[in-house]
Symmetry: C2
Subunit: 323 residues, 2 copies
């Protein structure tokens, strides 16, 4: 397979239409006034399974051959991809084998079970996750669906930016958070094809700045022991996402933890929508830029789309209650 | 003035169009499965100033005579009506004098200030509130806009049910919370005129059950020292709202505090929208009905609209974190 071109993304959009929600776009007069820009939040927190991840998962599942379908799908994930893949598999009536670390939160385990995922627990480290996945794959012949390092996943995630660009004209920037880079690379490709004047800006926690370092050094830097509340952004870039990001993304901005918490609370308070910490990272970049005399990004008067990646939050552990 | 008839409500809708948001209606497959009914949430938490109260406030302000406009408006309120009236006044460029108890939360005081309201503090009891309001009114000649006991307020609140009935056909029930009864009486009138087969059901906290007692005894019962987390539902019915409710509402159901907390958390988790405790009260009635062999309300298979009254919550004081 090759890097998704425009027709690949259009085919993905057509394939998953009817299965994904065309998510709403929210605006807030008071946040616009605060940051002196026009902000459009493409709200994937209202996507099925609560995050954009469902787009990539269902695009994969609907692309499987009849033979592949028989054996089901598998992945290792402690987060939104696990739920997304379980639901996608449930929709087409196949099995989803999900490898989860044994210390995963009960909320996440229950969500995967709710969507009919078959869970195998492993030790909470990458080696054990990969080993357990390999074992399950050998036993079941299930098809591995990678959460980001997979062109079908990337093409699926690209459909969110496609919808945003169809709905809102003349965006100066599209901003997304970056973890493994599936959403970012999909967004960058869709934007390059559909609205080349729009710049794609990634936002990343300062304390998990591997994509930032990789992007500006030109040398892949893995994520080592990241310490951020943005729990969807802990992973390293992938071998497929990194080159796309290097080529098609305009800028990566890092933000402080405090800004992420403030941004998350601001969106909850003013917009009445629940966004997870990872989704608050691009909003944090706006808040930091708006309160700085020499900002990393010039936002005054700009039209800015943000893809709100998800809304899966443990409501008993809100970051502003810890301080 | 007389009880709003259909044309009064239609005129109100026309008057406030362009100033109010036509709020979205949300559904949730998983909550539908849980309660075995089709639920439609008309989300006034996305209304300007975060609650349905803006409808009544702006309908009043836009109905003022040129002479009345000069002197501005006034009210006493510690809650959503204060913000709504301040914003409505700001929009038409007049003054809003808001009497607030001196122990009001900082969040609420700041919100009223944000919308340009002129705050006078009073002692936290009804006598002081009314006395202070009278004094301010004498000083300023401002027009008092009552939060619920006012036919223009009621006609404004009725426009939410009107929109819901236009957007969703064949509802079996419309459910709303009841405090002073402005939303309930407006909803009951709109439904009676526009969809007489739809039953209007109010939900009220068991620990603030004055509307329930008034409704079924036929004798007005005031709210005395109510103890509920649904802080929008503490007031007594009004002399204008009570007769409308007696005549046009089909049933009032009381619910336990625990159910209100569970319902609020459920909507946050599954639907990713922030609703305040008062808004969770009708959802709590559904949860109690769904888990009971002999429910107060038969909901299985029914099509049920709920007006989500607002989303103004102190995010540092979430009720499920207290237990």
């Amino acid at each position: 397979m090759k890097i998704p071109d425009l027709s690949t993304i259009e085919e993905a959009a057509e394939r998953i239409k009817g299965q994904v929600h065309r998510t709403p776009i929210f605006t807030s007069k008071s946040i616009n006034e605060l940051v002196k820009a026009e902000i459009y939040l493409k709200s994937e927190n209202f996507q099925k399974a609560g995050a954009f991840k469902f787009r990539g998962a269902i695009n994969n599942v609907l692309s499987l051959t009849r033979d592949e379908l028989k054996h089901g799908v598998c992945t290792h994930s402690s987060g939104n991809h696990a739920q997304a893949l379980a639901l996608a598999a449930q929709i087409v009536g196949i099995k989803a084998y999900i490898i989860m670390p044994e210390n995963s939160s009960k909320v996440k385990i229950n969500a995967v079970k709710y969507y009919g995922g078959i869970i195998t627990f492993c030790k909470p480290n990458l080696a054990s996750r990969e080993e357990t996945l390999k074992k399950i794959q050998q036993e079941t012949n299930a098809c591995e669906i990678h959460p980001y390092n997979n062109y079908r996943t990337i093409a699926g995630q690209a459909t969110s930016a496609k919808e945003l660009l169809e709905d809102i004209n003349d965006l100066d920037y599209i901003m997304v958070p970056v973890g493994g880079g599936g959403l970012l690379s999909g967004t960058a490709l869709a934007t390059y094809y559909l609205s080349p004047k729009t710049k794609v800006i990634a936002a990343e926690p300062e304390k998990a700045n591997d994509a930032y370092l990789s992007f500006y050094s030109g040398k892949f830097v893995p994520s080592v022991n990241p310490q951020t509340i943005a729990d969807g952004l802990l992973t390293s870039l992938g071998s497929l996402t990194y080159p796309i990001i290097r080529k098609y993304v305009h800028q990566i901005i890092t933000v402080r933890e405090e800004s992420i918490i403030n941004a998350m609370k601001l969106v909850w308070e003013r917009m009445k929508i629940i966004i997870e910490p990872s989704s608050a990272v691009p909003v944090a970049a706006l808040l930091e830029s708006a309160s700085c005399h020499n900002p990393k990004l010039e936002i005054t008067g700009k039209r800015i789309g943000i893809i709100i990646s998800g809304g899966n939050v443990d409501l008993t552990k809100l970051p502003w209650l810890n301080s």
